[in-house]
């Protein structure tokens, strides 16, 4: 009796002990894996990037080449989800002060939303800042300070098209929306899906709206400023509403691929590469995945800007590359190393390193950098727009801090016939209002 009680009490005590021990050591396994830093000279920089395959490859290549040049500094790549989940992680990690030593994030409005002045180390005084393309520099500038180094090249928000199909049907690259729709009619008659849409990944639905911005600003040059001040709206500006209307037209005429509602981006690329779909409005950044999966597409797939009403004013809407930033939580030797890393990313060697990883999606944002001689047709087709004065402009999100979070759901609705274009545009204005109020902008 006594002994059994003893044993029992001992097991209880053991259990309590075990629980306490567990609670004490209840750290996550992630920390088990990370190796501690070595000697006093060695510095390890953690580098947070999004988990897209190409981003990861580029980050690792950059890390390798940087360490080769700067022995003693190693780059350890960490990943996060892309999209709004990733935005959230960036914001919370910054606010809790446990951001990695350097990190990759968007430029433009999303960059403005992470309170750069409070959270980031300015790098405008570094020599490399002078070599940045002005278009890029403006998208990583807040309160007159420059904060980031460019990661990858400029991208076009445009229509990728299947060239052999165009040749077969005797079509010309359209300069106006009417020509584009005429082409679509012929393509449909030939039994091919004219416009590829992939709403299984909702972000891909936004291009007709976001990629139309060059045409919007050609028609209303002060749209971006007025938009920021709550004076111009998608619902009321005829030029801005066009993007939503185009999306609705494409759906109403049955120009989308049959499985547009469930297809994902890889499905879209497949249709495009195999000529089962003619046009895919998308960011030119997908070209690296396209070429990796379908090598022939390097020649067969071309690009043209989203056509507008006026052929003379048609031009390309351009996305600025992502930026590499240093959070204020990075200090001491790590800060020095981080600055060196940013300088490397924004140098000629950095561009070469990125090109080696296969990330060439458009012109680099560093003045000394040249594109390699062999680039996919899509990138070649972008060049004339960029070289011609007034044939390209930055997307709205790089000119105004205001961008609503629900645009992709709204464009899915408009492109699926659930909501009409005008209603979609007004709904987006409401969505934008929330963001502007959250940022505390004047006039909202």
């Amino acid at each position: 009796m006594n002994t059994s009680r003893m044993i029992r009490s001992r097991t209880t005590a053991l259990a309590t002990l075990a629980i306490t021990a567990l609670a004490l050591t209840a750290c996550s396994a992630g920390s088990l894996g990370s190796s501690e830093e070595g000697g006093s000279d060695a510095v390890t920089l953690n580098f947070l990037v999004d988990n897209a395959d190409q981003t990861l490859k580029t980050a690792e290549q950059l890390g390798k080449d940087f360490t080769a040049k700067n022995p003693g500094i190693t780059i350890k790549v960490e990943t996060r989800p892309a999209g709004s989940e990733g935005d959230n992680i960036i914001k919370t990690r910054l606010s809790t002060g446990d951001m990695t030593d350097v990190f990759l994030y968007n430029t433009g409005s999303l960059f403005q939303a992470i309170a750069p002045k409070k959270n980031l180390v300015p790098v405008g005084d570094q020599p490399f800042a002078g070599a940045l393309a002005d278009n890029f520099k403006s998208t990583v500038t807040a309160d007159g300070q420059v904060y980031g180094a460019p990661y990858g090249g400029f991208m076009g928000g445009a229509i990728l098209y299947n060239k052999p199909l165009y040749a077969k049907l005797g079509l010309q690259v359209p300069k106006t929306w009417a020509e584009f729709m005429a082409n679509n009619a012929k393509i449909k008659a030939a039994g091919v899906a004219p416009v590829i849409q992939t709403y299984g990944e909702t972000w891909t639905s936004q291009l007709f709206v976001l990629g139309d911005f060059h045409n919007v600003s050609a028609a209303e040059p002060d749209f971006a400023d007025k938009y920021t001040q709550n004076q111009a709206k998608y619902g009321t500006s005829p030029a801005a509403r066009k993007g939503f209307e185009h999306l609705q037209q494409v759906h109403d005429l049955g120009y989308e691929n049959k499985d547009f509602a469930s297809a994902k981006m890889p499905d879209g690329l497949k249709l495009l590469a195999q000529g089962k779909g003619a046009h895919y409005p998308i960011l030119s950044a997908v070209v690296s995945e396209l070429v990796a999966t379908y090598p022939a597409a390097a020649k067969d797939v071309g690009l043209f800007a989203i056509p507008g009403d006026d052929a003379a004013k048609n031009g390309l809407t351009v996305w600025s590359p992502g930026g590499v930033y240093i959070p204020t939580s990075t200090t001491g030797a790590k800060l020095d190393a981080a600055k060196k890393f940013l300088a490397f990313v924004a140098s000629k060697e950095g561009c070469d390193s990125q090109a080696k990883a296969g990330a060439v999606t458009g012109p680099f944002a560093v003045k000394d950098c040249k594109l390699p001689t062999e680039v996919p047709q899509v990138v070649k087709d972008m060049q004339p727009y960029i070289d011609t004065e007034g044939a390209s402009s930055l997307a709205l999100e790089f000119l105004s801090p205001v961008k609503g979070p629900s645009l992709e759901q709204i464009t899915v609705e408009v492109g699926s016939g659930i909501r009409k274009a005008a209603a979609g545009a007004s709904l987006y204005d409401e969505d934008v209002k929330k963001q502007a109020q959250q940022l505390g902008l004047a006039g909202w």
């Binding site: 309590t16 629980i19 306490t20 609670a23 004490l24 209840a26 709004s84 989940e85 935005d87 959230n88 914001k91 919370t92 606010s95 939303a113 309170a115 409070k118 709403y199 909702t202 049959k258 499985d259 509602a261 469930s262 979070p405 629900s406 759901q409 709204i410 899915v412 609705e413 699926s416 659930i418 909501r419 709904l427 409401e430 929330k434 963001q435 109020q437 959250q438 505390g440």
Partner: protein, 307 residues
């Protein structure tokens, strides 16, 4: 935190539990509530109270600003958010209603004399234990409109299946159907427990009196399984109103906003950094759940007493 709350009993052991004092004091120390109360209070009660204040603010991660009822106005003005509100009610009613009916029928079946009863019980119950995300992803594939198994099977018998998750007419109901598939096992189990506890003599007697199967179901099983019905309704209503993970794994509220529920709206606002609006959504959900579940459970339990 973890260590202090778990250490508390150990500390009190040395100070309070002398043999002499034990006899004088009540053996049921109120201090036993303390560890649970601290964890519950700090991580559940305080946030719940704080949510009432924060729902009235415009709140970014760095600061909050009082704006009155602006968030609630936004919440009920925006069609997308109102859609989430009605969808939540539809979803909860459909899933809990279906679970009651199917659960009861399955329980009657699985308590009757049939072959392979053990297998059937296990197979109906097992999905309850499987990860909701896993189930959601699996059914997303099965419901693929072009290549999915469900539509391929339907085309064999000449039916052109719809886009279960991509057609706004069906998206919410398709997710609800999967919810029922996953959750009906629990309802069945609760009903089985209720039916098994009905004394066998009642059914025997009814049979002797010449009652038909329908009559004994209607007059004996249904009323006596009432406590089980109450439990199933309340549990599945709470679950349905708060439901998030299955919807998020299958449609993320899409296409567009057509299958959004309050919980997914809360998450989207949180992701977008609209913490005040997100918390206002939480308060709305809180009010909806309480306003539906409390009176309903009072009502159902009172009726039970009357019987």
């Amino acid at each position: 935190m973890a260590t202090t709350s778990i250490h508390t009993p150990a500390k009190t052991r040395t100070t309070v539990a002398g043999p002499d004092r034990g006899r004088l004091r009540s053996p049921y120390s109120t201090w036993f509530y303390l560890p649970a109360a601290i964890v519950y209070g700090v991580l559940f009660a305080i946030p719940t109270f704080a949510s009432f204040y924060f729902s009235l603010t415009r709140w970014s991660i760095f600061e909050s600003k009082f704006i009155g009822f602006g968030n609630f106005v936004t919440f009920f003005q925006e069609p997308a958010l109102v859609k989430g509100f009605t969808n939540t009610l539809i979803y909860a009613v459909v899933t809990s209603g279906t679970k009651v009916v199917l659960g009861l029928l399955l329980a009657v079946l699985l308590t009757s004399q049939i072959v392979a009863r053990g297998y059937l019980r296990s197979v109906v119950f097992f999905p309850v234990l499987v990860s909701t995300i896993g189930v959601g992803l699996t059914f997303t594939v099965l419901m693929n409109p072009e290549r999915g198994l469900i539509n391929s099977a339907l085309s064999v018998i000449g039916i052109d299946g719809p886009g279960w998750l991509t057609d706004p007419k069906y998206a919410l109901l398709s997710v609800a159907a999967v919810d029922v598939w996953k959750g009906v096992g629990l309802a069945t189990l609760i009903y089985i427990a209720g039916i098994v506890s009905i004394p066998g003599e009642y059914l025997e007697a009814a049979k002797v009196d010449g009652a038909s199967a329908w009559q004994s179901f209607r007059r004996i099983i249904l009323p006596l399984a009432r406590p089980a019905t109450v439990t199933v309704i309340i549990l599945s209503l709470i679950g349905g109103l708060r439901s998030f993970d299955l919807i998020w794994a299958m449609t993320r509220g899409g296409p567009g906003f057509t299958s959004d529920v309050i919980a997914s709206v809360i998450y989207k606002q949180y992701q977008a950094g609209f913490y005040g609006l997100s918390t206002a959504g939480n308060v709305v959900l809180f009010v909806v759940v309480t306003a539906i579940v409390l009176p309903l459970s009072r009502f159902l339990n009172r009726k039970e007493v009357e019987l």
